[in-house]
Symmetry: D2
Subunit: 354 residues, 4 copies
């Protein structure tokens, strides 16, 4: 089912951008886990809109309401459901998109699939807003993983033409700035510059996020179609705008020799480790105990102010389109916690499935 993910920890995401609410049901959470709602709120605020500290007028963070699955703040074994009410929706902005689809969006493909019934307002079920319930589930997963000594972090490694430093694959430092998900103010300034330049041009810009999971034991994951890569891919490609995904040295392995890409085994502190981490912590779909590392490419926000070429579906002729409304010139910073949430869910599900 398209809005469901997971084997033992199963999440089901529901809602449209402009429906009464959006939400998530999480089945399979262990009973007896205390959910720290304040830390969860802090995590959710990282993907909330209007968050930039330079902005004075800040919209309230999305606040989840827990409908079930908790008993006095503790998971009780029953499915956990949390919702976020949709407010402040202006559906009128979207009325013309049913006939004249936005390039790069799902407007056209969803209308082919669902016909007239498709809820196009705000992108419907395809909206990036649906990553909020993913983050509720993922935020809880992150807390559970932390209790197991497993950390998940993500940061931006590219926006447009500007790059930021990647993690040390042997020992990633997961800390980021409060103001922007990179390591240094110098990087923040350069990457923000790319975003602002795109914004000023009425355009948008893409980027790349790197995610690392540390503290994983060796032996997690399954061969073939339920390997750790497959599990992460299935959830990460469920984040809107992701067009590429790579593990460890990733795409670069195409250029390498075996003597270069093979990670030599070593003994360190009585544990088996590897001297390099081109595998990104995964061999044969199974974790080897080294940091799990992947990178995902995020395409530029398709909604841009610049006039674009589209078509009128009713008249079947070409037509110019100007997208109304305010849109992020770059969703990459807000997608960083979403990537952490996705990784946490994939990893925790894998652990619980073991």
């Amino acid at each position: 089912m398209s809005s469901t993910y997971g084997e033992k920890l199963k999440i089901t995401i529901f809602g449209q951008s402009h429906s009464a609410a959006i939400g998530v049901t999480v089945e399979g959470l262990p009973a007896g886990i205390s959910v720290d709602t304040e830390r969860l709120a802090a995590f959710l605020s990282r993907r909330a809109p209007g968050k930039d500290p330079t902005a004075t007028a800040r919209r309230e963070a999305d606040e989840p309401e827990f409908l079930s699955g908790l008993s006095e703040g503790v998971t009780c074994g029953a499915p956990l459901t949390a919702i976020i009410r949709n407010t402040n929706t202006r559906s009128g902005d979207y009325s013309n998109l049913r006939d004249c689809p936005r390039p790069g969006h799902a407007d056209y493909t969803a209308s082919v699939k669902y016909g007239e019934a498709h809820d196009i307002a705000g992108g419907g079920h395809f909206s990036g807003r649906l990553t909020a319930p993913l983050c509720i589930a993922g935020g809880i997963a992150l807390q559970i993983l932390e209790g197991m000594g497993i950390s998940v972090g993500a940061h931006i490694v590219r926006i447009g033409n500007e790059k930021a430093e990647r993690y040390d694959p042997l020992s990633p430092d997961l800390s980021i700035l409060d103001t922007f998900p990179v390591k240094s103010e110098e990087e923040e300034a350069r990457l923000r510059g790319e975003i602002m330049a795109a914004k000023e041009a009425g355009d948008s810009v893409g980027g790349m996020i790197e995610c690392a999971v540390t503290g994983l034991p060796a032996g997690l994951g399954d061969p073939m179609f339920d390997g750790m890569e497959n599990r992460i891919a299935k959830i990460v490609f469920g984040i809107p705008a992701v067009k590429g995904l790579e593990f460890g040295c990733g795409m670069d392995c195409a250029q390498m020799r075996g003597s270069e890409s093979n990670d030599a085994f070593r003994i360190k502190d009585s544990r088996v480790v590897t001297a390099t981490n081109n595998a990104g912590g995964i061999l044969g779909g199974i974790t080897n105990g080294m940091p799990l590392i992947f990178r995902a490419a995020i395409k530029p926000t398709p909604s841009i102010a610049i006039e674009q070429d589209s078509v009128s579906l009713s008249e079947m002729k070409e037509k110019k389109l100007t997208v109304k409304g305010r849109h992020d010139p770059c969703i990459v910073p807000r997608a960083v916690p979403v990537m952490e949430a996705a990784a946490a869910l994939a990893v925790l599900d894998c652990i619980l499935s073991k």
Copy 2:
């Protein structure tokens, strides 16, 4: 389940490199389909070992035996099972790997997961040999798709430092040379050169495969976790050695502006098309009717002749390893039909699930 893939067209792959047989069960094939076993054999021979025309001594192609699911050569609605007997296995070559795992292989991670019981000979269930049953299932899927006017092709676009031309994303020409899966003899010469150079160095080399599916209707795939990208990712990361996957412009979208990456809509021959195909034929997880295009990076064969650093697991100390046996210096050419098989299975399953 790790060796099972698919929603309505479900494949289950079984076997180890040195077990009595390897095989596949395919559930959900429509009844009444005539399987052309000769064409299937021709397809399978593309991934068979020892296939290079310059080699005089050619091993026999793997020949599938159909145990069930066919009645007089026609699918009968019951699960189809086909097996290939394993012969010519020399398990002795692998005896030392249980203690001293090969870098880059699943030897170590599988031994953590399964303990002493792991069947390490030939890589066990993790062996690239298990792509043969995937190709049986995929070869049948290709025939069914062809009957629907859908074509699937793949070719090599990189080996080490040498590149071959990519498909025209708007109108890919799926033809390849008989001798090597590229378009021209010039490309063949350069890419083969990379392989031979690695071989002579006792080393191996990686590469990248591009795959295209043409003739797809718009509207296939589902939002979120069952989008076309997710479906393809789940099966493609099940092919050993794949470390990266991208759709359309893929990783490059991180460097693009929205005005550049958005594919403008056009009307052509009374159909909605796009002027470019950066989306790789997929918007919101759903096909838009343009060619579906993806690329996968294949890491170098981990088994190399050069001495490597490994460890003795019993003694927990570092140890040099020399891998015995004959191994492909580059598995990329043989992985090309595997990629086609994977794409065909993902697409046909998606069509049947609709």
Copy 3:
């Protein structure tokens, strides 16, 4: 996953008896279906508590709030979620049950499974109240089936020692009284008598429900583990208190000869029919076009006023238990629409999976 049912039409039920809300998410509903909320409310009122017409003080029916999946009252293709707020809960009544489990209830088994974290109030996720969201989903399925010419009905065929007439298996008349789900006032009087007698004794009583689906085409269902019987069994045994299930002549087939149980084929109005319907409309797991008929036995409500033998789990010694609160002396009448909902969901899922 335990609270999820279905292949293409997937329902996920959430909530506990005393959580903020209970609800259901339905994935896979075709887009473009108009949901008649008034008829749905009428259907839900059949299982609502306090419904008996002899009672003057009537509690309000449970009213669903649709959070997603509808756009102007029409299904839009996205998951549909509806919730019912829990009000009027008195959790204090349940405080002693954590230590002293009610015989016949899940109190003990849930506490073994979930430990202290189990939400015991009102039965938690195991409460019969969770059949309300099942009825929301099922009520929508019933409307869709009706549009396909398929009818689902159920009635009571036994309460304690009193029986009511079964359906004619060849041509079931699905109509029931408004006041009680049987055919005649005479039956109502007798069956109600059994319930009142149990109530007066501070006891409860069980019963049997028969359900029929008419208008089904032949050819629905799959062999082996996804046969129509398996599909119905999986959902029907999810209704609390069901302890037995039979199709067609059911348990009686154990006493029959083949010449008696085999349903002879006939031609009627140019269609293949059977002369009898011992198969309950299913052969080899697949519908044969005759009415699908099954019966489920419902055990007596475990919560009774009579003092019972239980144990103190903390002291591990035997202890008398008197269950507080008001409980139905017989849940069978309210379970009738639940059975219809379950059958409708199983059948519609099977149709959509085809």
Copy 4:
């Protein structure tokens, strides 16, 4: 998928009655389990045809060939596949059934579902012969359960008009005669008498099997749709000819009062037990530590020598049918180990899923 069962221990059954082979793939078996193939063969021989000791000419027992999943007789973690070759098939006997379906068989419904392509010979994938691979998987599961102190047994409690004694639900004695799956020679004589009487009349007869699982811990199973009843129902209704299934007091609960059906809790040997076992060891879908008990009704073999009323599908007119070939007058004795296999698979899967 219709021929697949299980969550963590997943079986996929393939083959038709007259295909080259029938078999099963089992995914999720723990690695390191030694399979006792002699005991497995003994178990399989209990369902093998021609087994009756009074018969002098005995056909060879079906012998499984293990294709994968074992390494020197021990499970290695990879999917285990075992096949049985079909020999001695006489497909010609079935040629007329495509046009003139046997009453009570899947001939008609399968032909509606699969059309001309259906492999009707011997019942195809619907044949009772497909319970042989189920028994291979189940026989292995039984060995694993035994190692956990869990026993599974089944026996006949009814054939036609003759009954045999049921298990003591508090402490079932699982032993049966070598010659017939009942407790005493007196029962054997009576039940065999029913079978012989049916045989002499050219007819067949049904029966009921009771199955018990002892040694189960409390806390296995899940609420709602993955309760122990649902899990067992999904596999048991996959056994051909099962038309009814009940747990504990089962259908009789419809006639009971709560004070009678509720199983009082007791303390015995410092464990929580129940004074009666009407629940059949399951409360709220979860085991309570008491013996798990269920009964399944098996309809008479549809293939009988007596002439029957059928139809010609090509001419759409009524036609007499005489079924050729030799058929069991009663499949109930051979279904007893199948029921044990099904119960073992359901229980072991549930344990592994925990």
